[in-house]
Symmetry: C2
Subunit: 235 residues, 2 copies
């Protein structure tokens, strides 16, 4: 039997650690038992006995689940099932100082993609009250002479409200997570210098379209509104 023949017969050996197995075991448990949020799982010691491993291993596996947002462990009560907050979890590793340049730039781009692509959901779910609120925000738009920070706050208020209107909580959380990174990239030397702060479609223009226009119009308007960002990426 030649070498190749041997290789083909070799199954890759299970190299996973004990903790890996316990983790998988527990995740499966959560899925199968259809445990509701708030239900509690067995105590660490009980799990250790049942699965035949030390409490150390159990703790480490539980810790992983906790980091995945699947459980919350509280003293005395033990661990309870929670609704995993998908994006809340990685917020911590969403640290501009740690991410590499490509990722940072990628995240910058993703925001642009989202805001252009969300048009249909905006039009589907926007209410009169939303429009009023947007107008209110726009009316408080800082003048060009005012401090830079006011502008940032205003930007966040306006665009954040848009995410809110989509009615998609997950999307909103996603934005909240991306925001600091976007801001960092915007102000770092990572992108080309903004040659000129041209004014394209304004916030007010966007609101007008939300009130009287269509998703198609809005997408193009938003694309135009974000032109300065695109210029820094493409030119």
């Amino acid at each position: 039997m030649g070498l190749v023949a041997i290789k083909n017969h070799l199954k890759s050996v299970d190299t996973s650690s004990l903790v890996d197995k316990v983790e998988a075991n527990l995740v499966e448990l959560l899925q199968q038992r259809k445990l509701k949020v708030g239900d509690s799982i067995p105590k660490e010691i009980e799990l250790a006995e049942q699965l035949g491993v030390s409490r150390t291993v159990i703790r480490e596996a539980l810790l992983r689940l906790r980091m995945m947002g699947l459980i919350e462990s509280r003293k005395k009560k033990g661990a309870v099932i929670t609704n995993p907050d998908v994006f809340g979890i990685i917020s911590k590793s969403m640290n501009p100082h740690i991410l590499d340049q490509d990722t940072l730039k990628g995240i910058f781009e993703i925001r642009l993609v989202l805001e252009i692509g969300m048009a249909d959901f905006l039009f589907q779910r926007i209410t009169k009250a939303d429009i009023d609120e947007l107008k209110e925000i726009v009316s408080k738009e800082p003048t060009a002479t005012e401090h830079h920070l006011f502008n940032i706050d205003h930007e966040i208020a306006f665009h954040g409200k848009l995410y809110e209107i989509t009615g998609n909580e997950t999307l909103k959380k996603f934005q909240k997570m991306l925001l600091p990174v976007f801001d960092y990239v915007h102000h770092s030397g990572l992108l080309k210098k903004q040659t000129q702060e041209k004014k394209f479609v304004s916030h007010k223009g966007l609101v007008d379209i939300l009130e009287n226009g269509s998703p198609e119009l809005f997408r193009n308007a938003m694309r135009n509104h974000l032109e300065n960002h695109f210029l820094r990426l493409f030119s």
Copy 2:
């Protein structure tokens, strides 16, 4: 001094655990020291001594960093800095069986947002070779009579290629993470039944636009292409 006055003077007490502090400490270390990928950090025992806590605490903090994708610990060598794979990390908690309905639906929607909003990046970065590859994929489109699974594979191949063309690795990873969830939602009873599988803009139509059209045209075409999905959400 009344109760309210007292309350206002009370600073919220630091309730964070030892592990929390050590974790923060280590993250800060990573940021400050400008450690390159591949650099290794001190051994667990050394860290324990330096920070004045037990190895248990250190291990738990390191585990968190590991889950955040900041480090990779390997036997003998110790922990080394890694490039955090922002989305790879949460893939594990991206389990359709564990996420609640709202989140699932939200993720379904996000995919639609992304594919409509990515137009500008497609046009900016697409190459002749990409178009050829897309045409190749389209040419292999399964007929309506063929098995359902072929269709799914084809869908994934085509749309996956689009993400690839954007040149945004982070976006691509994001899609890879969302894909199983999207698929799950699509085939679960979570959304309204698809009354009729209408054919709108085809894959071929999209490629034509990529070759000869504009981002604006593409956005509208993609919106139309995804009409069946939108119908299930909105009607």
